[in-house]
Amino acid sequence: MSGAGLMLAALALPLATALLIALVGERRPDLREAVTLAGATALAITVALMIAGFDSATAAPLVLATLVPGFSLTLKAEPIGLVFAGVASGLWILNSLYSIGYMRAEHAPRQTRFYACFALALSAAMAIALSGNLATLFVAYEILTLVTYPLVVHWQTEGAIEGARRYLAYLLATSLVPFMAALVWTWVAAGTLDFTPGGILAGKVSAALMPVLLGLYAYGVGKAALMPLHGWLPAAMVAPTPVSALLHAVAVVKAGVFTLLKIAVYIFGLPTMAAAGDWLVWVAGGSVIAASLIAMTKDDLKARLAYSTVAQLALVTLAVALGEPLAIAAGVLQLVMHAWGKITLFFGAGAIQIATHKKKLSEIAGIGAQMPLLIVSFLGGALSVAGLPPFGGMWPKYLLLEAAAGRHMVLLVVCLGLSTLLTLGYLLPVVITALFRKPRDEDPHALPDTGHEPSPLPLLALLPPVITAAGCILLFLAAPAILAFIAPAIGLETLP
């Protein structure tokens, strides 16, 4: 199949899946779930074919439509985008399996809408990954926000409605004002919106204004959750856990940091980026530390993980701000590794909720005895997110250290080292409490527990986290291959 055909398939398959899901509806739930899985598998195969067959010399843009002359919807395969597409499509399969287990265990309503919107979100994510210019990326980015709204508001309780409003408010406000302003500014200054190796802005915007433009992008891409515009992430925790997994690992936040990566490499160009990005390095670094500290205070597991995501995303923003090939490589790796690590953690939190109906750290003492494999998977994800070997998460941290060391930024090196320790500080207690602390009923001074009888963990909710945790270890070994794939695109001559 030709490159253009594969790209179209990548967009069309999830759309078709969504349509089929809507048609099958509530009448045949098993068939509906099978459609989801089939669509996810087909998409993963398509992306795999694209990656295998990728050749930068022959990758041609595919114009889908032209909204206005100069603003066209164009698809073009390139390495960073293919990496993102690979992560999203691969994790969709696992997330779907998990969703089936989770939603059925919780007897959730409106499941058809859930699965259909999921598929639509994946289509939008694919469009973002394969975008050939900033216009396409912006369009798909907006659509992603809207399509994930029904997912976030799923339970339709007071809290869910409020949380979904915040989600939407932050994301639409940032994209409709700063992002769009930056986009039009770029369009007017550079005359084009095409993603071009080496960037399109060099010399087109004055050096004094370049940081302003960067700021508009950094905060305009609200999905990257840069502090202080990160509030939507914790607010979106009202969603069912598979949606949180999607938001925080598969599609939404990754789309955000991916956008920043693309803008850095193909719109600004790395030298321009490095010159304009000094302030952003400090803001992002501060974000890492601040979010990690806040995460330590949260008792609710998902809130803890939400702030963890804010911190980890800030690392990608940090990488982007450094503006060097090595740092960008670290950013891409962080995108991949964090996706797999974080989704493991969310799977774990959700599974704990299904089995024990507990959501808070203070309530999960000793549950490791019921679900040791799950907690161990959670541990694997935690260690990966913290950046310890032998888990994949180590590589981005290490490359960032190299980049920071190369620029003699001592404070940054310290900050990076601290982030590992802080991450352990807020993630390890979960594992330790679950595995090693005694449950409260053995404590004579504890209040009586009004909890329900623990339910058994469905296999579909247990298997995905185990797979993704194992994936974190495999990714540790696969990192050099990923680097080799993206090296030509980002100008990385000597691989670390």
Binding site: L293, T297, L388, Y398
Partner: protein, 524 residues
């Protein structure tokens, strides 16, 4: 790709991969028996691969001996675990063992950093598996401190060729953390006894020794280490003397003997370095034996089985008897000290060695290892383990010079005589009159074990304060923004209403007003 790939695979699978694999299996599978069987299979496979490894990596005989010793310890640990099943300890021990082999064979700092992190993780879990609140606290502190050291190593690896002094400082800091150099030594004393008896066996063998041998090679000749080492050796011996809990006393003795090794590194001469590795090997052997004895006692709740005395005696003798493991390395380091014109330091080491012999060898033997009438015998496993360890000890003790050429100095008259005197004096302390006046209590001189685990875990809580502060700032900012937004919105609405509301008359008036303005503007 060069550094990463080398760090990862260095041309093939990492050394010790059978052990790593066995550890994962032991972890994943519920059955203890299968876990141990996997461990034995992994052990045999790994041993079989050692000759190839030696050839490929050009290992020195000393390094080879160290690796074999690691294997021996793994085997001992598996044997002992058969006594009282301990799945996490076995799995952790296997993984730590495999990672230790890989760490020793690592040729880049990055690779070394990666594998020592794995050791740290596995060891931390062994500690936490002890189950008590104390074990949890100690294990968490252990992990955090070791990860800090690992991060320092990663930073050093990232710095690479630039900033050599900084790299050295980083390595020094990491070394101090990993080898329990004061003032960051307390984690060892807190963590090792808190693990299960089987766990302690594994803990004592790998983490610190790998650090001493590998990082020591990088820091050889750093003068401060010489003095730090001597302080360690003496300083740790004092609490050891008064510690009532056998495994905790053994932990203090471990710190003390590490001090001797650190001093040797500080000397940096070739014979000192050989002494360091030789002592490391010897120490592994005798401390494992002693931990075995202590463990046997603990799993029987303090009721000594028959045959334990033999075990304990052999362990005690291994500490310093010439011909057994512990003596060769210490003598070598002592000789190096003499050559460095620090003969007094040699005597210090000998005295410390004797104190160790007395405190953790003789005294427990005399006071606790006497079986009650009708007590059962030690198990076949324990006996086998003892035999293996003693065999190893003898091999190293008698044939030390084969692997460490300079070790032949241990058989010179001078060191032998000094050692004999020291040991005899030590035996004298066992005279009841002296023994009765020698106090012992649990957690003796605990204030000397710094930093306390509670401080480390407390740091987390301490940081939470900052987190709370930030949260509160965030909440205030949110509320403020929302309030401004609301007020702004209301203002906006009021203005908009003002422009739209009103009746028909207002509309006409506005039209006239606008006309007037238009005319004025046009003519103005």
């Amino acid at each position: 790709m060069t550094e990463m790939a080398h760090a990862l695979l260095g041309g093939g699978l990492p050394p010790g991969w059978p052990l790593l694999l066995a550890g994962l299996i032991a972890f994943a599978v519920r059955s203890e028996v299968i876990g141990r069987l996997a461990g034995i299979a992994g052990l045999c496979a790994s041993l079989a691969l050692v000759p190839d490894l030696a050839a490929a990596a050009n290992l020195l005989p000393l390094e080879l001996a160290l690796m074999v010793t690691f294997h021996l310890v793994v085997g001992i640990g598996i044997l002992f675990a058969g006594q009282r099943p301990d799945r996490i300890a076995v799995a952790g021990g296997l993984i730590a063992g495999g990672a230790a082999l890989a760490a020793l064979a690592a040729r880049t700092l990055l690779g070394f950093a990666i594998w020592t992190e794995v050791i740290a993780l596995a060891s931390a879990f062994i500690v936490m598996a002890g189950g008590t609140p104390r074990a949890l606290s100690a294990g968490l502190a252990y992990l955090l401190l070791q990860v800090t050291a690992g991060v320092l190593l990663l930073i050093a690896a990232a710095l690479g060729q630039m900033d050599a002094p900084v790299v050295l400082w980083l390595l020094f800091a990491a070394f101090c953390l990993k080898v329990a150099v004061p003032p960051v030594h307390g984690w060892l004393v807190a963590a090792y006894p808190a693990a299960s008896p089987t766990g302690s066996l594994f803990l004592a063998a790998f983490a610190t020794k790998v650090a001493v041998v590998s990082l020591g090679a990088a820091l050889a000749g750093a003068e401060p280490l010489l003095w730090l080492g001597l302080v360690m050796a003496v300083g740790a011996a004092i609490p050891m003397l008064f510690e009532a809990h056998w495994r905790r006393a053994l932990s203090w003795s471990l710190v003390s003997q590490l001090g001797v090794m650190v001093a040797g590194i500080g000397l940096g001469s070739p014979e000192a370095m050989q002494g360091v590795v030789l002592l490391a090997i010897g120490h592994i052997l005798y401390s494992t034996l002693l931990f075995l004895a202590a463990g046997s006692l603990e799993i029987r709740d303090g009721k000594a089985p028959r045959g334990l005395r033999v075990l304990a005696l052999l362990g005690a003798l291994s500490i310093g008897l010439p011909g057994l493991a512990g003596y060769g390395g210490k003598a070598l380091i002592g000789e190096a000290l003499i050559h460095h014109h620090m003969a007094w330091a040699d005597y210090v080491i000998v005295v410390v060695g004797a104190l160790v012999f007395a405190a953790v060898g003789l005294r427990p033997l005399v006071e606790r290892c006497t079986p009650a009438p009708g007590a059962p015998w030690i198990s076949l496993r324990e006996a086998a383990a003892t035999a293996l360890l003693v065999a190893g000890s003898l091999l190293v003790g008698l044939f030390g010079p084969l692997i460490a050429p300079a070790a032949s100095v241990a058989w010179h008259a001078g060191p032998l005589i000094v050692q004999a005197i020291a040991l005899s004096l030590a035996c004298l302390t066992m005279v009841p009159a002296v023994r009765r006046r020698w106090p012992q209590w649990p957690d003796a001189l605990d204030f000397l074990a710094l930093p306390k685990p509670a401080w480390v875990t407390g740091a987390i809580t301490g940081l939470t304060v900052f987190g709370e502060m930030l949260s509160r700032i965030g909440a205030v900012a949110s509320a403020l923004t929302a309030a401004i937004g609301r007020t702004g919105g209301r203002l906006l609405l009021a203005t908009a209403r003002g422009l739209t509301a009103g009746g028909l008359g207002d509309g006409v008036l506005w039209a006239l007003a606008l006309l007037t303005v238009a005319l004025i503007v046009s003519f103005g």
